[in-house]
Symmetry: D2
Subunit: 259 residues, 4 copies
Amino acid sequence: MIEGIFVPHVTPFDDAEEINEEALRELVEHFINSGIYGLVTLGSNGEFPYLSYEERKRVLKIVVDQTNGRVPVIGGTAFSSTKETIALTKEAWDIGVDAVIIAPPYYFKPSPRELYYHYAAIIEATDVPILIYNVPKFTGYNIPLEVINRLAEEYSQIIGIKDSSGLISRIGELIRTLGDKISILAGTGDLIYPALSLGAHGAVVAVANVAPRLCVDLYSAFKEKKFERAKRIQLKLNYLNEVVVKRYNQLSAIKESMN
Amino acid sequence: MIEGIFVPHVTPFDDAEEINEEALRELVEHFINSGIYGLVTLGSNGEFPYLSYEERKRVLKIVVDQTNGRVPVIGGTAFSSTKETIALTKEAWDIGVDAVIIAPPYYFKPSPRELYYHYAAIIEATDVPILIYNVPKFTGYNIPLEVINRLAEEYSQIIGIKDSSGLISRIGELIRTLGDKISILAGTGDLIYPALSLGAHGAVVAVANVAPRLCVDLYSAFKEKKFERAKRIQLKLNYLNEVVVKRYNQLSAIKESMN
Amino acid sequence: MIEGIFVPHVTPFDDAEEINEEALRELVEHFINSGIYGLVTLGSNGEFPYLSYEERKRVLKIVVDQTNGRVPVIGGTAFSSTKETIALTKEAWDIGVDAVIIAPPYYFKPSPRELYYHYAAIIEATDVPILIYNVPKFTGYNIPLEVINRLAEEYSQIIGIKDSSGLISRIGELIRTLGDKISILAGTGDLIYPALSLGAHGAVVAVANVAPRLCVDLYSAFKEKKFERAKRIQLKLNYLNEVVVKRYNQLSAIKESMN
Amino acid sequence: MIEGIFVPHVTPFDDAEEINEEALRELVEHFINSGIYGLVTLGSNGEFPYLSYEERKRVLKIVVDQTNGRVPVIGGTAFSSTKETIALTKEAWDIGVDAVIIAPPYYFKPSPRELYYHYAAIIEATDVPILIYNVPKFTGYNIPLEVINRLAEEYSQIIGIKDSSGLISRIGELIRTLGDKISILAGTGDLIYPALSLGAHGAVVAVANVAPRLCVDLYSAFKEKKFERAKRIQLKLNYLNEVVVKRYNQLSAIKESMN
């Protein structure tokens, strides 16, 4: 089971807006040295919607190569198109990711039935362990809990969910219904300790880009039942999350749009 | 400091849509016997916007009289009008409430400056301890944290805030900035344990209308550091909250609208 | 049938935040002299949610007295409470308004069934002609078209609707289904000419507070089939609406909140 | 200047979810025979976000080839990535489209400055006439009017905007500020006649997929000053728009997601 703190790391570009391989390899080293439990490559912080198919493949290759099995690598392979998602998911598996994480189609707002078939089609066409990625801030909608439950019940290939709704109630419901079966991962930095308290298995949080050790410390404190310490780190992270991550995200977006 | 589990109790009406005094007195006994830490009278569950000025006064009188000092009574005294809010707040104090809780103006969406002056005017015209009530689900907006911080810094009459945003990040920020000074109370049933974990002082939650003992148990488990038990109760409450409270709220609203 | 341009006039207050009777009487004269088709007293611009029951009665009395039958007066009588709405509606009728206009309950978001019963209860308890007031910007929801259709079909007391959704599609549907039976009035200044083009009967618009003659000119141009002129006035009003009305609304709200 | 009714035509797929070239060619004939003023290929109804780069190229080639200059073809070339948008825009121009239409980045919500630079970069890298496509229903945000104004003032390559906000006030402001300079096109079926009344140059509307002749009739009626007729057609289209287009859109989405 996926557990602990994962960093949805950024994708470094050079001045010509090409992927900066050297910086990316250094980033991988930096995070592994920080004690991170694993890497999520090409998540929202990795700016996946701004990268072409070929660029995404290249990023995955570099990260898998540099990591070299020291920690798990979870690769983001989502497109709005089911077909393209399947294609990149297969390639990611061949490249050697440990699992993939897939945001649902963006732009259109699919019905629950469409969402189910989108994920089912990907699962049936591939062999790779899959995490569902719920991120209403960017897609404009929440994946209904019924869809997630049905997929997790029917397909053992679903191994987890990253929930970035910011709602502890959703995470609580996911833990109550699926927490014994798949990994429930908090997707926003303000929720790490509250989610762990309710039984979540870990977190994939943007704030780990700027404070990986602090996030890992919080997780350790929780596992060692040092709750007062966990609480204090969480409140500190809340502040960082408000101040640094939001500013940071904006910078990364500006960087791209000005290319 | 206000601490523990408070019930924002409903207001019972008879078939003629008049306040049912007998049922209201029984309700007070029921909640006190359930071990509740205090009563919030005329909150959203008490349907305050549906009651006239005179009806609200009558409800406050009955509850204060029946409670007779056994637990604290916090009275809801909000109108959209600053003037009417001041008037009822004064009368509530004379009636004998221990504090009042005041939702901000509804219908219009005031600016931060207007919100500050609304609360400042109420505070300066009265002597009663005041809790701020943030409830975006009904008012359509969140009270900015800066407004709450400024009010709490300038006026010691502010003794707490009930936050029903459903966002643990907001509650975390309130704890970080004001938690040593005023009571931070979770306002939604899914957040009791997560909020307590971060340092909240208690909760005022609709689900306490249907499961007061369970809410009190959760609070006791937390205080006694029985965290596994607290977690299990919270997940159970999440389910109740989804299923019972939402259906219940709807019923109470239907009841009113059909009069 | 209600037709033409109505002004949802503001309510003037003095420095002590009391109703300024003299200024109110002057306002009535000003609007009648501007050629306005009628007055809507205690609409959103009249800040009805900020006034007590007694203050609202007083405003209605002054306006009806000053108008003295020269143009129709439509009085806003909405509270969140059905009971209070019925009470003020009856008093408004005794005071001598020509019709009332009623926004649905605010704060809570009633179900379609609850909305139907709210209006039905008011209609059955009174004899006054009623306009429904759809204003999602402030109430947080649209009154479903089915509810309006059902009320208009069952009760001839419903004589019109003011729709402030800002959606020409809603106004088009109201015209298609009810336009032969009741008055469909545009409720936002950007929609006067588009709504008239589709068959609306008139408009009740905040911008008439600052440019009553221009609004009346637009209506006249439309009736006289001077469409190029109507178009040019509308585009001018759009600009006024953006710049003046929004700033004005804010000022009036600040005025209140600082009392 | 782009004027009249354009159909944002669907993209037909076969059972294997491949582009159905024959059906696509028939569709082009069907719309040209219906008297349509032009084709918008790979708009939202063309499901562009679901198609790969290569598929999009193929669709553009087929439509340009089949149309063979009889009506203008406007090709949708938007990706979230600026780079990919530039690449496809260049290829579309080589393929022979008369103009391109570009929705802003989806998934992330760019700042006004980022939006400006995204479009500016595309313009500076290409020679093709460009229409901006504002579609908040799918992107989650409106392109600020200031950004559109600045782009239209600085670059003559901007020849129009399709606005699908559904807000006649936005379209009115676009007409007031840019209507003499670029084409302002209504993007939702309920707004055709209201927008024309205010001075819009035409419409690109989903409902033209199911009722192209009716849309063209409405435009003709307007140009011939048969306003009563235009009004009646618009109300009929409103109904069609509600009932048929929304159901249709859903079907097309289902079709895709089940592949």
